[in-house]
Amino acid sequence: MSWTEDQPMVSIKDVHKSFGDLEVLKGVSLDVKKGEVICIIGPSGSGKSTLIRCVNALNDIQQGSIRVEGQEVNDPDLNKLELRKKVGMVFQQYNLFPHKTAVQNVMMAPLRVLKQDKSAVEKKARALIKKVRLEGKEDAFPGELSGGQQQRVAIARSLAMNPDVMLFDEVTAALDPETVGEVLQTIKDLAEDGMTCILVTHEMGFAREVADHIYFTDRGVIVEHGPPASFFDEAKDPRTKEFLSQIL
């Protein structure tokens, strides 16, 4: 079965996930088309982060199906390397490698995992650092960078693998308020370049601006979803309304 570009790039169907007795995902389904930007919002503990970690096979699922470009993630024989070449991920805590400089962080995976040629990798890495607007910081260690700068290096590090989809797991939640904007700008640039993005976020204004589609999750299910305009202004479900009234 081959995947074509008109089919959803990421297709999630009836996914169930439990940690021990605690069921965090109780049948979640959603589709993401190529070039689409979707935002998943919802209260803490509603399973948003777990959902996108499942897309990258960092967590396994008990039931249901996740397909990335037609490849089933919920498969014991899954080639994780192939999946992770297609799916880039950025974490809340940046998780840069503290013993490597910014440019080395970006170069590491293409060199070690893809075994690409060093000079080409370095050239590309420097271009990516420039793209996330960190020129001049190439040789700084993560410890010498602000949170926002580290997070942009982390984005560049994921982009170095040439992913088809990018996952953003509350990437601005740990940042100082004054550096949130620069990271969001970087993501916006990416979205405008046509990158397929799945974001878990608490930045409602940003979600409204960049998302093509918003999903609201609560207690492991998708309560409501729709394009930003109708979602934010004409929410129907009482849980959505309550959440939006608290956060806006």
């Binding site: 390397l81 974490f91 998780n95 503290p98 260690f141």
Partner: protein, 248 residues
């Protein structure tokens, strides 16, 4: 040089301050041999204790319950009993169980001499500390950093060699250096089984010359300088390995 040494003979004649290990070439040789023996014993024990530490830390991560228990039992026994008694146990108790071998002159001699037993005993003693040091170093590498590497497609071995080990090593280094310094100090115990190290040779000299006060003060200064130089070298090494912003 000889005039420098002779000056101390004059010093002895004039003031009674007797430093035979300077003006007497025989005592000088003994003291120097003792110094070399201390260094040699320290290096041999350092080498084997690090090997024991690495293997022990690896075995402690074993999935077999009894492997872990035996390693933990080893650690607890060697950490909570006097190293001197351990040394006696090895040298006298186990040493007496081993077969005798014929030496070059047709006589019988123990399979292992006092140096070998001192090296074995002290390596196991220091090794017990190293297992804990290495293991806590490995545990100090955040799970999230490992996860970030996995998300970039690193396999287990690559995560270990590129991320976990370099970071764990830096975390271990201060404790490891501390243990090394302790090891050098602990080599004096080998005196008790007549390994001719610095303390033992100093004892020989003060027995022959009845100059305990001078030898005692010299020993204190000698160990102070030896350990002081070691601490200084280790601290410089730690500083050169330091990554900006990592560790505190």
């Amino acid at each position: 040089m000889e005039t420098f040494f002779e000056w101390f003979r004059v010093l002895y004649d004039d003031t009674g301050i007797n430093l035979p290990f300077l003006y007497d070439s025989y005592d000088r040789g003994r003291m120097f041999d003792g110094f070399l023996m201390t260094i040699k014993l320290s290096l041999v024990c350092l080498f084997f204790s690090v090997i024991i530490g690495i293997i022990g830390a690896w075995l402690q991560g074993s999935s077999l319950k009894w492997t872990r228990r035996i390693i933990n039992g080893y650690i607890q026994i060697f950490r909570n009993t006097p190293p001197l008694v351990q040394l006696y146990f090895f040298y006298f108790a186990i040493g007496s169980l081993l077969p005798k071998v014929q030496n070059d002159w047709g006589g019988q001699e123990p399979l292992l001499g006092s140096f070998a037993w001192a090296a074995i005993s002290l390596s196991f003693f220091a090794g017990a500390f190293n297992v804990e040091i290495f293991r806590s170093g490995l545990e100090a590498v955040p799970e999230s950093t490992v996860e970030a590497a996995e998300a970039l497609g690193f396999n287990r071995l690559q995560v270990y060699t590129d991320i976990t080990l370099p970071l764990a090593f830096r975390v271990c280094l201060p404790a490891l250096n501390n243990n090394l310094v302790n090891l050098v100090k602990t080599t004096t115990l080998a005196y008790a089984i007549a390994v001719p190290e610095m303390l033992y040779e100093a004892n020989q000299i003060w027995s022959d010359n009845v100059n305990v006060t001078e030898m005692m003060l010299f020993l204190l200064v000698a160990y102070f300088l030896l350990v002081g130089v070691l601490v200084w070298v280790m601290n410089s090494w730690e500083r050169s390995m330091k990554i900006p912003g990592y560790g505190s």
